[in-house]
Amino acid sequence: MKVIMKNLGKKYEGRENFTLRNIDLEIDDQDFCVILGPSGCGKTTLLRMIAGLNSITEGDLYFDDRRVNTIPPKDRDIAMVFQSYALYPHMTVYDNMSFSLVMRKERKKIIDERVKEAAQLLQIEDYLYAKPADISGGQRQRVALGRAIVRKPSVFLMDEPLSNLDAKLREHMRVELVRLHKSLGTTSIYVTHDQTEAMTMATKIILLDGGKIQQVGKPEEFYNKPENIFVARFIGSPTINIIRGKYRDGKFVSETDTITLTPSKEDAELLKDYEGKGISIGIRPERFESGGEFGDTFEATIDVIEMLGKEKTLYARLKDGSDLVISTPGHYDYKEGETHTFGFDINAIHYFESETGERINR
């Protein structure tokens, strides 16, 4: 089922400003859509509005072509997995999973079939009659998922379901969720602040900040063509390097003149109008070049080296004291305290307007 948001806005009573405004989005059927953003950006509010737990102040919400603003949550054909799982502690796992169907007075035969089916899919058949307090966190999470699956909804909503799990389990569940999504084919909307989850699981990412949409699109687009500095910084680990400066005589010069960069021909075309204006460049840590002759270069002294095995992360300092993060293959030889010369892969430079943060090159 498609989920379409037109000009959605939310204002809480008693607050001056809108928490969310002008949200226009289209989520396609069978999408795994991740709503990403830092704390307080409004992503949970948006999810809750789609669920019907919070009212919609302005704008319209459509499921396929049905306007659902006024439809209560239980009639929207959705299911939600909460951050704390929200399992009813006084009911068995079986009762938790069948609860929504029981409330709908569904036939017992059907209820049992669905519950057993979901239990099988999630491998929790062994403790169908246990209570939530008696099973582990990971198992509880699967019960929460089972509860959602049993409803056979048209949309799955998930509010940071993996944040209460330990690292290894989280990795495992990420894959499980994607597999589940592929086998069930239900449109899923997933909220998180963890960009790794977003990048690995999503077919479409929506990045929110301060109640506004920063970018919408496929994970690759976020990485390779961030629409503004915020997006560029948010996605990618280690964080992208942003250097401020000016565009002078067809070259980028950093504020303290430590770095000069000549753009590629295509980029130069787009940068023509920015002569004399302030622009910032973004370079991913792995796109620096070393050990050879490459146009513009700069010198940097290595402060700290993080040895990760397959790669090394160098925290380097430039002549003017500013920092850079450089990723190199693990077998390259670097030592702390050394000074090296680095160059740029000029096809991997992102240009942004310094003032607005908006991307320049396409």
Binding site: K74, S84, Y88
Partner: protein, 301 residues
């Protein structure tokens, strides 16, 4: 240097305890402690023992003397059963206690839920008001209770003094327990409410199917406390209940001790014993819950 070094644990002469071995001062301390502890045990058990013995001592007359001449007999119990209203008193007290407990938990379940889960106009103000009302001692109104009952019973004859007493016990109980229950329900995550809404529950459904079952331990404690209250109260029952057949246990048993006309102290001992046993058992079995109810209420405010 240790005195009892290797003899602490009789295990191949190995000293296995995690604690450092006792010094002389330590030993003296322990012995003193045990002495004090046992002395206190005697201080507690002896009077109670006296009461139990007197109840069974056929030699005891109207005034209880020492129990040197002991003759086992059940005649005091018979007296209690036949010549006094003891059984009626038990019935009355149970009726009042159970009604108070029921009334309290029904009302408190609603108010506790309402104050915890809803933000409505006047919430803060009324909560403060209840807090203050809680502190008003109940006896402050004794002069009025009697008269109020007369007024109401002239309109509704079925309204007995015992019912008035139930209301008097329940009123402050509702006020103070609302807080405690509210605090307890506060600790239940609101995500459960959300999940229930999505699963198809109305507000009342959420109250009935989700929150109340979870709050059951707390409600049980509240019910217990409101049940025990009437058993322990003398003053209010004395003020309101005037005819012997309507007395509660506290008031009734007192007449066996204070009033010359009805004096029969060994019968009182018998009655006291009979009353005390179930309550003591209840306290023993439930002491953990009762105490946790107290501390959680006070610590969380």
């Amino acid at each position: 240097m240790t005195l009892f070094g290797g003899k602490k644990k009789k295990d191949k002469g190995l000293y296995l305890s995690d604690k450092p071995p006792l010094t002389v001062a330590g030993i003296i301390g322990i012995v003193t402690s045990y002495t004090i502890l046992f002395a206190w045990v005697v201080a507690i058990v002896w009077p109670l023992f006296q009461m139990v013995v007197s109840a069974f001592n056929g030699q005891q007359q109207q005034y209880i003397m020492g129990n040197e001449n002991f003759e086992f007999s059940l005649r005091h119990f018979e007296f209690l059963y036949n010549e006094t209203y003891y059984l009626t008193w038990v019935k009355n007290t149970l009726f009042i206690a159970i009604s108070t407990a029921l009334l309290t938990i029904v009302m408190v379940s609603f108010t506790g839920y309402a104050y915890s889960r809803y933000r409505f106009k006047g919430r803060k103000a009324s909560l403060m008001a209840i807090m203050l009302i809680q502190t008003i001692p109940t006896f402050a109104g004794i002069t009025a209770f009697f008269t109020m009952h007369s007024i109401v019973s002239s309109v509704i004859p079925a309204f007995s003094r015992q019912m008035m007493l139930i209301l008097i016990y329940a009123g402050p109980a509702i006020a103070s327990n609302t807080f405690i229950l509210k605090g307890y329900i506060d600790s239940v995550s609101t995500e459960l409410d959300d999940a229930a809404k999505i699963d198809g529950c109305s507000n009342f459904d959420i109250y009935r199917i989700i929150i109340m079952p979870i709050a059951r331990p707390m409600l049980t404690i509240i019910a217990l406390w409101s049940f025990i209250g009437p058993f322990m109260d003398y003053l209010l029952a004395k003020v309101l209940l005037t005819s012997p057949s309507t007395y509660t246990l506290a008031v009734g048993l007192f007449t066996l001790v204070s009033d010359f006309r009805t004096m029969n102290q060994p019968a009182f001992a018998a009655g006291g014993l009979l009353t005390a046993i179930p309550i003591v058992i209840m306290f023993m079995v439930l002491q953990k819950q009762l105490v946790s109810g107290l501390t959680s209420g006070s610590v969380k405010g």
